[in-house]
C-alpha cells in the first residue's frame, strides 16, 4: 500500500472513530435510561433509536473494513430487531450482555479494531454467541414480568435476521432527519483548539493595545505640560537679544502646539481603532467560546456504567441519577472536572453507600442513591451537586486523623465547630497507614478535588449528616475568563500573582522585619504574620546567600505582597511590583501536568511568557522553606553536609532520571545497575539511604532489601522500593522483607519520593 492510501485510510479511520464513539455514547446512554424502566412509549422510542444507532455503526464499520466491530454489531442489531418486535423482553441479564458488548466495542475502537490475544478473541466469540442466543430466547425464558401486557407470539427463526423491509424502514426514518442534519457540520474538537488559541492571542494583542494607548496618552499629557511650562517660562535677557529670544520662544511654542494637535488627532483615531478592535476581539472570542461549549452529557455519559461496575464489584446496590445534562460548559472546564467528579463518585461508592444488609439495619432501602445534578446559577455559573444517602462523614474520625497527621494541633481541634471540622477533609496529608505507599494513607484525594476546582475559579463545599448522607456542592464559572493579576519581579524572574489572593501590596522599611523563633515576621493589620522571600520559596536562590543580600539591601525600602489562601496569610518579599493587569491563564502542556507553586502561564503583550503562581502551594512551600532553614541551625549541623544515597535501577533512563532528581534536591548520589551491584557498593561505602527498583536482573529489590536487613553492617539503612508493580501482594512482600517505603512509579511523582526520603533520613 502506498503512503497516500495509507494516509487516506488513517484519516477515514479517524473519522470512523469519531462517528463510532458517538453511536456508542448514545447506545450506552439509551441502555442506562432503559434500565430505569421508562414508560412503555419511551422505551419503544429508545429501542427504535438504539436499533438505528447500532445499524449505522455496523454499516460504518463495514465501510472501513473493521470486521471485528462489524461482527459484534451484527448480532447486537438482530437482538434489537427482536426487542423492537417484542419477540424478547428486557431482563437484567440482557442488560449485562448489552453493556458488555458496548464495552467490547469501545475497547475495539481504541485499538483500531485489532484483537491482540486469543483470550480477547474468545471474549468476542462469547459475546457474539450470547447476543445471538439472547435474540433467540423466547419470552418465557426471560424475566418477562416487567412487561406483563406482552402478547406471547410464537417465535420463528427468521425474526432474528433483519429482513430487507426492516432495513428499508430504518433508512426511511434516517432520511426524515436529514434536512435538520444538513445544517450541522461535524468538526473534530482538535481543529477548534487552534481557533481558540488564536482568539486568545488576539486578546493579548488587545491588552497590549490598551497599554500602548495609555502610554500615548501619557506622552500627550506631558507635551501639554511642556507647553504650559513654556508659556510661563521667561528669563531676563538683554534688550539686544530680546528679539531673538522672543522669536525662539514663539517658535518653540508653535512646535509644541503642533505636536500637541498631532498627538491629539493620533490619540483620537487610535482610540477609535481601539474601540473597534476591542469590540471585534470580544465578539470573536465570545463566538469561539460559544463553539467550545459542550453539553455536560459529553462529560458524564461514561459515569453510569462506571458506577455500575464499581457497585457490582463491591456488592452494593446503587441507583445513579444524573440531571441537567443539557447544560453547556466550556470544554476545557469539563475536561478538568472529570477527575474530581470521578473521585467524588468513587468516594461515595466506597465510603458513603453501605452494603445492602448494613443499609437495611439502618432502616434504609437496600439500594443506595447517588444523585449528580447540574444546575445553572445565573448566566455564567454552574452548580454541581453530588449527593448520596449513605453513611455520612464521621466528624470525630476526621478530627482524629487531622490531629494525628499534624494538620491541626490537638488544642486547636477543640475549638473547631462542626463545619470547620468537616472542611478539614479537604486538607491533605491524613495518614492512617504505618507504611507509606502512594495509594493509601496520604489522604490527598479530596485536597486534589478542591485544588482542581479552585484552579477553575470555583468553590467546593460539603454538607453531611451522620447516617443520612453527604452532598458535595461545586460552584463554577461556565467559561474560562481572564482575571486580574499582579506582575512581580524577583531576581531575573517575573511572575503573576492572582489578584484574588493578594490582600495588599506594600512598601516598608526592612527594619520592620522581626525575627521570631528564627522565622521572619512582619506586622500587618495589627497582627504578626510570617514573612518569606518569594525567590527563596521558589528555590531560585540558595537561602544561605540571601543573608548577605539582605544586609546589603537593609537600608532600602522593601516590597511586600501579602497573600492569602483559605485562612492562611503570609507576606512575601519581592524585588518589585510592576503592574496589575488582565491575564489569561494557559496550562503548561501535557508534559507538565502539575508543577509545584505554578498553576499555569500567561503571555504578556510583549510576547514574554510569565508563570502564574499558585498561592495555596506558595504558602505551603513557604512553611517548609522556613523549616528547612531553621532545622539545621537547631540541630547544629552544617547544611553543606548532604546525605549520600545509593540508587539501584537497571534501566539507564530511570537511573539517570532518579540521579538527576536526587542531585537537584541536594543529595550525593551513587548508582548501581542491579541488586548485586548495589549490595557490593553498599558494603564498600557508607550510604544514608538506598533507593531501589524492584524488578532487576541478578538480584531484585526484594532480595536486596532482605539481604540488607540481614547484614549486620547495613541493617539500619532505610530502603525505599520504587516499582512498577502495583499489586497488594507485592506491597506486602516489600514490607515483609523490611522496606521502609514502597512507591509505585505510575508517573514520576518526585515530591512523593523526596518527601519520603526527607522523612526517613
Amino acid at each position: 500500500m502506498n503512503k497516500m492510501d495509507e494516509d487516506f485510510l488513517k484519516r477515514i479511520r479517524e473519522t470512523f472513530r469519531i462517528e463510532a464513539e458517538e453511536h456508542l455514547r448514545i447506545l450506552s446512554a439509551g441502555l442506562t435510561e432503559l434500565e430505569k424502566k421508562p414508560p412503555e412509549k419511551r422505551a419503544a422510542e429508545l429501542i427504535e433509536n438504539m436499533y438505528r444507532e447500532v445499524h449505522s455503526l455496523k454499516g460504518a464499520a463495514r465501510s472501513v473494513d473493521q470486521k471485528e466491530i462489524e461482527s459484534v454489531c451484527h448480532p447486537f442489531e438482530s437482538l434489537f430487531a427482536a426487542l423492537k418486535r417484542k419477540d424478547i423482553v428486557l431482563s437484567p441479564r440482557l442488560f449485562d450482555i448489552l453493556l458488555k458488548a458496548i464495552d467490547i466495542l469501545t475497547r475495539l475502537l481504541s485499538t483500531d479494531g485489532i484483537v491482540k490475544t486469543p483470550a480477547e478473541r474468545q471474549i468476542h466469540k462469547d459475546i457474539i454467541n450470547q447476543l445471538k442466543k439472547a435474540a433467540e430466547e423466547s419470552p418465557s425464558d426471560t424475566h418477562g414480568k416487567e412487561y406483563p401486557d406482552f402478547s406471547g407470539e410464537p417465535q420463528t427463526e427468521e425474526k432474528v435476521i433483519v429482513s430487507e423491509t426492516e432495513k428499508n424502514k430504518v433508512s426511511g426514518v434516517a432520511e426524515s432527519y436529514e434536512p435538520a442534519m444538513a445544517k450541522v457540520v461535524r468538526i473534530p474538537v482538535s481543529r477548534l483548539d487552534p481557533l481558540l488559541l488564536q482568539s486568545e492571542e488576539l486578546l493579548q494583542t488587545k491588552i497590549s493595545f490598551d497599554q500602548r494607548l495609555n502610554e500615548l496618552k501619557d506622552v500627550n499629557v506631558r507635551v501639554t505640560g511642556f507647553k504650559a511650562q513654556l508659556s510661563k517660562y521667561s528669563i531676563d535677557v538683554p534688550e539686544t537679544a530680546k528679539m531673538i529670544h522672543d522669536e525662539y520662544h514663539e517658535f518653540a511654542g508653535n512646535c509644541l502646539s503642533e505636536m500637541e494637535n498631532r498627538l491629539n488627532e493620533l490619540q483620537h483615531s487610535i482610540e477609535k481603532d481601539q474601540y473597534t478592535f476591542n469590540r471585534l476581539t470580544n465578539d470573536h472570542l465570545g463566538e469561539v467560546k460559544q463553539i467550545l461549549m459542550l453539553p455536560v452529557s459529553s462529560l458524564v455519559e461514561s459515569f453510569p456504567s462506571m458506577v455500575r461496575d464499581i457497585s457490582h464489584e463491591h456488592n452494593k446496590e446503587v441507583k445513579f441519577n444524573i440531571t441537567g445534562m443539557e447544560l453547556e460548559v466550556d470544554k476545557r472546564i469539563l475536561e478538568d472536572l472529570k477527575d474530581p467528579l470521578l473521585h467524588l463518585i468513587r468516594n461515595s461508592l466506597d465510603h458513603g453507600i453501605g452494603k445492602p444488609h448494613e443499609r437495611t439495619e439502618q432502616n434504609k432501602p437496600p439500594s443506595g442513591t447517588i444523585n449528580l445534578e447540574f444546575k445553572a446559577r445565573g448566566s455564567d455559573m454552574i452548580e454541581i451537586v453530588l449527593s448520596d444517602d449513605g453513611k455520612g462523614i464521621d466528624t470525630e474520625n476526621v478530627l482524629k486523623a487531622a490531629v494525628r497527621s499534624g494538620v491541626i494541633s490537638a488544642e486547636a481541634a477543640e475549638n473547631l465547630n462542626r463545619d470547620e471540622i468537616i472542611s478539614l477533609i479537604f486538607k491533605s496529608g491524613v495518614s492512617t497507614s504505618s507504611v507509606i505507599t502512594d495509594i493509601s494513607g496520604r489522604g490527598l484525594g479530596l485536597s486534589i478535588v478542591s485544588e482542581k476546582v479552585e484552579k477553575l475559579n470555583g468553590k467546593v463545599s460539603v454538607r453531611t449528616e451522620k447516617s443520612k448522607g453527604t452532598s458535595f456542592h461545586i460552584l463554577l464559572p461556565v467559561t474560562l475568563a481572564t482575571f486580574r493579576g499582579i506582575l512581580v519581579k524577583t531576581g531575573e524572574y517575573m511572575f503573576i500573582l492572582p489578584s484574588v489572593n493578594v490582600v495588599r501590596v506594600l512598601r516598608t522599611e526592612s527594619g520592620e522585619i522581626k525575627t521570631v523563633e528564627n522565622h521572619d515576621t512582619i506586622s500587618f493589620d495589627k497582627k504578626v504574620i510570617p514573612m518569606a522571600d518569594l525567590g527563596n520559596v521558589l528555590g531560585l536562590q540558595e537561602p544561605g546567600n540571601k543573608t548577605t543580600e539582605l544586609s546589603s539591601k537593609s537600608s532600602d525600602q522593601i516590597c511586600i505582597v501579602v497573600l492569602t489562601s483559605g485562612d492562611d496569610v503570609v507576606a512575601f518579599r519581592v524585588d518589585d511590583v510592576l503592574d496589575e493587569r488582565q491575564v489569561l491563564v494557559k496550562n503548561l502542556g501535557k508534559l507538565l501536568t502539575r508543577v509545584k507553586n505554578i498553576s499555569g502561564a500567561t503571555v504578556l503583550g510583549s510576547g514574554n511568557v510569565v508563570p502564574v503562581l499558585y498561592v495555596p502551594d506558595l504558602i505551603k512551600s513557604s512553611i517548609s522553606a522556613q523549616e528547612k532553614v531553621s532545622r539545621p541551625v537547631a540541630a547544629g549541623i552544617t547544611p553543606e553536609k548532604s546525605a549520600k544515597i545509593l540508587v539501584a535501577e537497571d534501566s539507564v533512563t530511570a537511573r539517570a532520571l532518579l540521579k538527576n532528581i536526587l542531585e537537584t534536591a541536594g543529595y550525593q548520589v551513587s548508582t548501581a545497575i542491579d541488586g548485586t551491584d548495589a549490595f557490593t557498593k553498599a558494603r564498600m561505602e557508607g550510604f544514608d539511604l538506598i533507593v531501589s527498583d524492584v524488578d532487576m536482573p541478578r538480584m531484585n529489590g526484594f532480595e536486596l532489601t532482605a539481604k540488607i536487613r540481614n547484614d549486620r553492617k547495613l541493617s539500619e539503612i532505610p530502603v525505599v522500593l520504587v516499582t512498577a508493580l502495583e499489586s497488594r501482594e507485592d506491597r506486602e512482600l516489600g514490607i515483609e522483607v523490611g522496606a521502609d517505603a514502597y512507591i509505585v512509579k505510575r508517573s514520576f511523582d518526585q515530591t512523593n519520593l523526596l518527601e519520603i526520603i526527607r522523612r526517613l533520613i
Partner: protein
C-alpha cells in the same frame, strides 16, 4: 568560473536523471536530522509537529533541569525538554541556531531542544543498526539505533510515551 558552474550543473543533472536505486529495503522513513552537543541525531518525522525557532523561553522554578522551560507557540504554551541534560551530554550554551523540534502524538506534546537542524533524510528502517549505543553513553531507552553516517536515531515513540518524564508534583 563559468565552466565550473556548467560542469557542476551538468553533474547535478546527471545525478538527478539517474534511475533511483533499486529499493531492496522494505520501507523507508523520513527523518529529521539535527545536531546535539556535536553529535548527529535523527528522528522520524511522523512524530514531529513542527520545528520552531527558539527565540525566547521562560524558565520554571522547581522543575528538574531537563525541562529547559516553556515557550509560546502561537498562543499555546509548550514545555521544552533538553535531551542533553537528560543524557548528561556536555553543555554548549544556547546559540542563535537553537531550534525546538515539537514532538507530538495524540496523548503527548512537547518540544526538544536541537542545536541545529541539518535537514531531512530518508532512512530505510532496516538500515538502522540497533547495536553499539553504549559507545555514545546515552540512555539506550530512547534510542532506536544508528543509521549510516553515524546518525543516532531517536525513538520518538518511546520518548513521547515515557510516563516517567511527566512532571506531576504536589506540595505537601
Amino acid at each position: 568560473m563559468k565552466k565550473e558552474i556548467i560542469a557542476v550543473l551538468k553533474n547535478r543533472a546527471r545525478e538527478m536523471a539517474r534511475e533511483p536505486e533499486e529499493q531492496t529495503s522494505s520501507a523507508t522513513g523520513d527523518f529529521l536530522i539535527f545536531a546535539l552537543a556535536g553529535e548527529i541525531y535523527g528522528i522520524d518525522v511522523a512524530f514531529i509537529r513542527e520545528v520552531y525557532p527558539l527565540r525566547d523561553f521562560t524558565q520554571l522554578p522547581g522543575v528538574p533541569s531537563f525541562i529547559l522551560g516553556i515557550i509560546n507557540v502561537r498562543g499555546q504554551i509548550l514545555p521544552v525538554v533538553d535531551l542533553k541534560k537528560f543524557f548528561n551530554l556536555p553543555e554548549k550554551g544556547l546559540g542563535e541556531l537553537n531550534k525546538v523540534i515539537i514532538l507530538h502524538n495524540p496523548a503527548m506534546e512537547f518540544g526538544i531542544l536541537a542545536d541545529n537542524i541539518t535537514g531531512m533524510q530518508p532512512v530505510p528502517f532496516d538500515a538502522i543498526r540497533t547495536s553499539p549505543v553504549s559507545v555514545t553513553g546515552i540512555g539506550s531507552d530512547y534510542l532506536k539505533g544508528i543509521a549510516p553516517g553515524n546518525v543516532i536515531i531517536l525513538d520518538g515513540e518511546k520518548i513521547l510515551n515515557d510516563k516517567k518524564i511527566i512532571i506531576h508534583e504536589e506540595v505537601t
